[in-house]
Symmetry: C2
Subunit: 146 residues, 2 copies
């Protein structure tokens, strides 16, 4: 089926538990996953929680990658949401399975935004660009775009 978005729900079980609680490493791995999938990064936002666990989102021009980790269970929930034909979300998923050393990964692919009745492929805005906006924080994020 043709949809506007491709959404991978990635269940990473039996991961390296120390890695899942390392803010810098989790962030670096998620950013690398976005890059390896040919995504255009527009924002990177990660938080470490007490007593443990990390949440983070890499906002990309083609949607987002997110992660929530439960180091205490060796588990991470990853979502890779992409649109357009250029990105390779499956490459990002494979990369994350390997980097987080998940011994029991699983991936579910969900097609989002199936709108046409005859399974027609709807035209998609090709490579979206961020609009110029004055807010200071957005200006900073704009500078992160490669």
């Amino acid at each position: 089926m043709h949809g506007l978005g491709t959404h991978l729900l990635v269940e990473l079980k039996a991961c390296n538990t120390k890695l899942l609680n390392d803010l810098k490493k989790v962030e670096a791995i998620m950013v690398d996953a976005a890059k390896i999938a040919n995504a255009t990064i527009v924002g990177v936002h990660f938080h470490k929680f007490s007593p443990f666990g990390i949440s983070g989102v890499v906002v990309i021009a083609e949607s987002h990658l997110s992660i929530h980790t439960w180091p205490e269970y060796g588990y991470a929930a990853v979502d890779i949401f992409t649109c357009g034909d250029v990105l390779k979300p499956e490459v990002a998923a494979d990369f994350l399975v390997e980097r987080f050393q998940s011994k029991h990964p699983s991936i579910i692919e969900v097609r989002r935004g199936i709108l046409s009745k005859g399974n027609v492929k709807l035209p998609h805005k090709t490579v979206p660009t961020i609009e110029d906006v004055p807010a200071d924080d957005r200006v900073k994020e704009l500078q992160m775009v490669p």
Copy 2:
């Protein structure tokens, strides 16, 4: 089934198209949705794309809410990912359906992180808080991870 996270995949079809391209309004609605669900907001990151479309994430202590809009098709893909027992993600979903004036909404609930074999409810860190500790202390915490 008991899982670590509850993930609602919300398909908002036939929405108010103008609303879907209004950065400030989309952001305000998503923030309000997080609040109405009793979430603790830790970060709000929204971007407007050219020629149209908005992507945004509300990072909450209990995971995240995200949205990607296709104003040209009156469609928005929303994800509400929560953990713990306090939040009411379904309340946020209902709120978003109403505010974006979606005439054809649909919601799929996905249980993330089903880890126990006997469907035992695993203990969850109650209300996580963002860390504000030096790196050395984090090393100590790592040793606590089983």
